[in-house]
Amino acid sequence: MNGVRAFVCGTGIVSAAGEGVEATWGALRRGTSRLTPLALFPAAHTPPLPVGEVRDVPEVDGLPRTHALAWMAVRQVLAATTLTPDALVLGSTTGGMPTTERLLEAGERRPEAYRHHAVGSVAAWLARRLSCRGPVITVSTACSSGTAALKIALELIRCGQARVVLAGGADALCRMTYYGFHALQLIDPAGARPLDRDRRGLSVAEGAAFVLLVAAESPPVGALAELAGAGWSCDAYHPAAPRPDGTGALAAMRAALADAGMTPAALDYINLHGTGTPDNDLAEARAVRALCGDPPPVSSVKGLFGHTLGASGAIEAVVSALGIHRGFIPGNCGCRIPDPALGLLPELAGQSRPVRSVLSNSFGFGGNNASLVLTAPLSAGPARPPRPLARFSVLGTACLTGAGPLEETLARYWRGEPFSGRPDLAAVRTEIPAGQIRRLKRLSRMVLLLALAARQAARPPAAPGGIFFGTAWGSLTETHDFLKKLFDSGERFTSPTDFVGSVHNAPASQAAIFLEATGANVTVSGGDHSFEQALYTAGLVLRAGDPPALVIGAEEDHDVLSPCFDAAATADGGGAFLLDPRGGGTGPDLVPVHFAFNPGGDDGLPALIESLGGAARIAERFGAVFVGLPAGDRSGGEAQLERFRRETAFSSPVVDTRRFTGEFAGASAVAAVLAVETVRRGALPPALAGGEDPRLGGRGILLLGLGEFITAIEVSAP
């Protein structure tokens, strides 16, 4: 293949405007708000606020509402195509929360009741249903999740990792978000009025949308649009408020246009994030004015659908693709008198006119910004040769384990002793004044300590641009404290601080503030393979010449929630790397090689072995295998390992890393740090070599992750 482009060849959508493209199209043409007073659950103590609620969500296998909404959109895509997705990327923030919050309130403690809690469980359930054996990624960057998902999908195609990607977003209404935004005083009691002079906030909503993204050199028959480019940035400014001057938003828009090889003058329409909060609309208007001297038509559709959080970027991508395909610019529903302070006039009513290119914005808590560019599917376009995943040289490492930070952990490791447990964070020295980290609870504090230590370890010092963070469960303390206060007060009081801290991307975006890391800030989630997912995602999006990036995996063990969500957990902590995407430095290289969903069995093993270049290459390159066998599917993992040994006849030591890291979803990040340190030393701790020669013989270590995903990371010797 000479070059690769990504075309939107199918869509599925569900929102307060109804199910399907035609219902959505009708609502866009009419341009009247679909917001209605909350009916899904009783609102305590206040009149129900206007929300964007989906009517008649069918019961799907007793699954949480987010999963059901996602399925409503996915089945539309599947019904209209003969293609089978070989990868899946989902943006979401709530995951199983609509069900979880009810169960927790009722005092349910049985882990099986929570098996669909994780934000990553939506994509995993869809992938299982679709028998997808390729990359399955869940991105959770608050309200930019849906747009970030399409960015990752585009890079999967550009890296040749997938040919047909199902990408989108899904989020359901729940009390967590309804009361959370209420506590932040970010809800407009009259319904969202984006860009209006009298706007007072957003309207929380739910929905899901997916696009089928197909790799091709020229537009396939039936292509609606081309995903020409996408970009992201981090404000590194505040956990909830946007950078007032709009420079963070501007950076994401510029990155998307540069990625598409376009200038602002070529845009026919900008689909604004336009939530209706005073601060967002002001910062975004400033950014748009700075981007385009003479802006094209702009509008926000959040007065129509409400703010569907992690789904909004995907919903607006579908709206934008429809706009291109059918020649239509949606009106800015809800805006009566445009705010003169914005200096930006939205299209008040929808209008039919040709649209060849759209920039669509999404900005989230933590200053996580993402923008994408969709264009008409023209036959001539900038096809580029597929590029490989990035290869990283390790500039700095850090970890936190039951033994403490890296030095203390290594002391135990070299003696061959386990170090499972919970790190005492109060004992970790840091130069940051207590007042500045007072709001960071356990996971956010761990991630900040890891990020600072990994940066500190680099010689010479190097500042990270991007941060890629993997977590299965997110900030459990904030989630617990928020819900407890809500339930204990009869839904009267909550903590706005805990709400802001509870989003999965809070730890990485808070670390970005301290490190002034304004590049991509990406939080992904996928159970015990969340760290591998973060490294793989970094490998997809970073290229040689980009600034160094932090890649972090961490998890917290919480007394109440961990026994419900991850009953096997015995420890917490994590690991972090400062990585240079150039590769080939003086230290070991860390190379994401393979990342695939495994819906069961060991059928995924041959593809893994092939990615690694076959049995002979594996023996030649690796002096040991570090394998992560999560307790959730230990017997399945062991069967996969057995097949790996059989088919490769691997004869060097195989180390079961969870025996010394302890059992928790971030264990593989710690194992990766130890693998790097082991390769630096050139030999395993003798106690771990199982009686075999502990020396690596100048070779590297292969990090395998088995179970629900099959993953491989190469730690290569310099």
Binding site: A183, L184, Q185, R200, H238, P239, A240, A241, P278, P433, A434, G435, Q436, R438, R439, S489, R492, F493, T494, S495, P496, T497, V500
Partner: protein, 88 residues
């Protein structure tokens, strides 16, 4: 009023987890938000919740909030006045 101000100082330290702040570090008449204490908009909202919960006084929008949180003395006076109004 001075007794109430002292009470509020303790509440602020507890609610916002200001472990390295002593009550005498909190200015009574000076600016409360954006001062050396490092308090921001989220802290204001956290205090709004605390004030409603502990004193039954609602502070519902930004315009009111800006005036009420101008200083600790202004905050104490606002809570005191509205609490009394309710008790009457």
């Amino acid at each position: 009023m001075e007794g109430f101000i002292a009470e509020l100082k303790d509440k602020i330290i507890e609610t916002l987890g200001l472990t390295d702040v002593r009550p005498e570090d909190i200015p009574v008449d000076g600016q409360l938000i954006g001062s050396e204490l490092g308090l921001d908009s989220i802290d204001v909202l956290e205090l709004v919740m605390m004030i409603e919960k502990d004193y039954g006084v609602k502070i519902e929008n930004r315009e009111v909030g800006v005036k009420v949180f101008a200083s600790l003395r202004a905050l104490a006076a606002y809570i005191d006045a509205n609490r009394r109004e309710k008790d009457r």
